[in-house]
Amino acid sequence: MTSHIIGDTGTLTGRSLRHIVRSPDTILTTVVTPIALMLLFVFVLGGAISTGSHGSYVDYLLPGILLITIASGVAYTSYRLFLDLKGGIFERFQSMPIARSSVLWAHVLTSLVANLVSIALVTGVALLLGFRTAASVAAWLSIIGVLVLFTLALTWVAVIAGLSAKTVDGASAFSYPLIFLPFISSAFVPTSSMPGPVAWFAENQPVTSIVNTIRAVFAGQPVAGTLWIALAWLVGILLVAYVLSIRIYRRKFS
């Protein structure tokens, strides 16, 4: 029956993508906050922030904004997963001769598609605000690669939340700290401007290395060290969240 896993995942992904197409507000609410933040920082606060780099502030800002977009987007994955569990549809799927893991994979792939659309929209607004990059096609692809990894890692965290939540609000509440994390990182201001312990936290949490990597690639600068730290965080979070999700899933529905 494992031979059906790809076909079943495709069928179920088609189903949840339909959900997104029929309620496009899930994409809009995902991008509204990051775009508002971007406007706020570019036109209100940014003038007073000295980044120490020569590009415009929106160039400095965009990587962190993209991460915030994804962090708020994955909340919909736990929300949709939770609703499937609450309604009877999940049990129907489980009692059918399908590859069981395809139910989770469908939600993960849907999250990937939805977040890529959100990222494209936010990047489009950034371009209107004056974002410019000399990044080559290969550089763009590597940035998209990092963002895909980030989305997958956070989506599996969202799966944990969706599987273990007791209420709808609980299912999406996990994303608030994730949205907040970029503020205590190099996403908006250089970490060197922060007081000691805060700076230490900011420098050693995952968002900073990911933001610095994307920023450097956009600016055409070398990324060597920070890229490996970022990849280690991303792959680490992805693996831990994936293993935990599968374990919770097996324990609840075996």
Partner: protein, 253 residues
Amino acid sequence: MITQPAIEVRDVEKSFKDVPVLRGVNFEVKAGSVFALLGSNGAGKTTLVRILSTLITADSGKASVLGFDVLTQPLDVRGSISLTGQFAAVDEVLTGRENLVLVAKLRHLPNPRALADELLDRFDLTDAASRPASTYSGGMRRRLDIAMSLIGNPPVIFLDEPTTGLDPEARLEVWQTIRRLAEAGTTVLLTTQYLDEAEQLADRIAILHEGRIIQNGTLAELKRLLPPAKVEYVEKQPSLEDVFLSLVGKETR
């Protein structure tokens, strides 16, 4: 000729935390018959159905469907059954037709669209086929739910309280559907808390009480358990259900 029972349950026990829900349940269901599990809320009916449909595992005992063990051959069991749970398991965002096509695709059947159209017609949902299921009435939703369960003609069907929460008309429609299934030779395991439902539909009735089957027999056998009926002359008043149904223009059976 002795044929293998369609469903076999032997000494099945299940506890949640320290609360025993099933304490050694035994019964079998003959292929092609309608078997009703009658019990009040909390008697363990749903737990039993969930074990038989491989959603949860029993603590001890054996259960099999068409000879496939639910523990060791869950995929074969899932290929032979269909579950209609207590709450209509339809995708509210998708239309009726899309719901049916989805299930047909997941069952890897050829021509999902043709199958969907056939079931829409059979369940009187053709007019509503292109509307999202969230706009359906309770009865329509239940019909769609059962239609989804029938895709691929599974030989064994579990119906967990199929008429709970339905109005009398919708209830009669569901009864009709179950009768047609039985005529077509499908094995039906039905759970219900309504005595008349078991009486109307089932070939055999088992009473599940506090985690045990306390009686199991045909309606006639169960009736013999009580002292013989006395003959009394009582004026037959129409029941409220008769009144309601004649006013809204439906026949009782």
